[in-house]
Symmetry: C2
Subunit: 248 residues, 2 copies
């Protein structure tokens, strides 16, 4: 492992929505590194456009990241194909739809689209949640034993009132997911939020992602509960078909 590259990554990760602008000393302090080392790294990153130097000699994330990000999107053909289908889903209900993929024991949201009237929800494109505590994550765990193994190794911890923290209970829940073909998260990840997710299959039949619809418990369990469930499943199936999966 190349240390300076690792350190450069840590520096980039220091920036967040809460702290979009940082000085050299702040960064050095956060990472426990010498200010001169961070300065060398920061200068390099500025030169590459990964960071930008402000007039008052502080730093922010640079445009290079926009460029790179764009190519992340491009390469995931799931992305282009899914957007119109997910838009169609949220046009028919009130809530927020996500597409999640598994990475290192967590679910990463690669897409998030909300309907106009949706109540805000604490996720964003690129953000992560423990897989076992989300509807999308549980779908991915239900159909990928490797993912489940990795998740168990990392341990389960309470995220919200109903988070499943027991391995046996989780396995039971995942069996249920496989039986019905969708997963539900009811107050498992964020208090007051209910979500329902269904699997997206690649041409080879592997569950590579999951799409969900999330909203307030009251709305999601309301009168059109059944319709929401059918729509989420239909959306997932349509995306799978777009990706070349042929139902058997």
């Amino acid at each position: 492992m190349i240390e300076s590259v690792k350190k450069a990554c840590y520096i980039i990760s220091c920036f967040s929505s809460e702290e979009p602008v940082l000085g050299n000393a702040e960064i050095a302090g956060k990472l426990g590194m010498s200010p001169s080392t961070t300065h060398h790294l920061i200068s390099t990153l500025c030169n590459e456009g990964v960071l930008m130097r402000d007039k008052d000699r502080r730093y922010r994330l640079g445009w290079k990241l926009l460029e790179w990000n764009n190519n992340v999107m491009f390469q995931q053909d799931i992305y282009d194909k899914a957007i119109p289908l997910v838009k169609d889903l949220i046009s028919r209900f009130i809530g927020t739809a996500h597409i999640g993929m598994f990475d290192k024991g967590e679910v990463v949201f690669v897409l998030k689209i909300s309907s106009q009237e949706a109540s805000p929800i604490h996720t964003y494109i690129g953000s992560r949640k423990p897989a076992y505590a989300t509807s999308t994550g549980k779908v991915l765990l239900a159909y990928n034993n490797d993912y489940l193994k990795e998740t168990i190794e990392r341990g389960l911890s309470q995220q919200a009132p109903n988070t499943i923290t027991n391995i046996e209970k989780l396995k039971e829940d995942l069996k249920k997911v496989r039986d019905v073909g969708y997963s539900i998260s009811n107050n498992e990840n964020s208090t007051g939020t209910y979500a329902i997710a269904a699997p997206i299959l690649s041409y080879s039949g592997k569950t590579i992602a999951a799409v969900n619809l999330a909203g307030p418990v009251s709305y999601m369990q309301g009168s059109n509960q059944h319709m929401i469930r059918q729509s989420v499943i239909k959306t997932a199936d349509s995306i799978s078909k777009e990706l070349g999966y042929i139902e058997v």
Copy 2:
């Protein structure tokens, strides 16, 4: 400058929409580096989630970039505030709207939204164009002498039939932009494309970005030419107000 960090950046930049998946040897070849060196760097980047290792031992861009990108967005409050206003703009015409900002002699597109029926255009979020050859770029040059100086130093080259390649002619054009408050690019950047841009001002009155509408020459110069111009200017003004700029 820290060499390994620079090299890591080059590796990330190897990936594109045309080549989303690359092997170690390919990357080493592209960059003229030894495969073992690139492998060390690639492994590190994989560990950090910047790259991902495919099943067939090839590599693609990783989720970390999504995470980082998100924070680039967050920090530019211009982004959140502008989106609804730009959406409103494209809803009334057929074309593609951009917001561009200046960086190192070029305009970087930080936002791109197209109306449903818009003809495709060769830009994407994060992509760059020479400032002097675009409507957004010329707005930024017209109101920022530093930008102009930097641009002139880098030289002007023909991009499309009408690109301004003469410094004096460029200065005249920029004067006109200041006089009328908007800029036009007619076949200056891409053949067949006509765009009109107006300045976005920060609370302090500095021109920090430009918004444009681009489309086929025939449409943009058609009957609602005047209305388009007024709408672009109005959109720019509204965004400026959102950013705290108070007209004098």
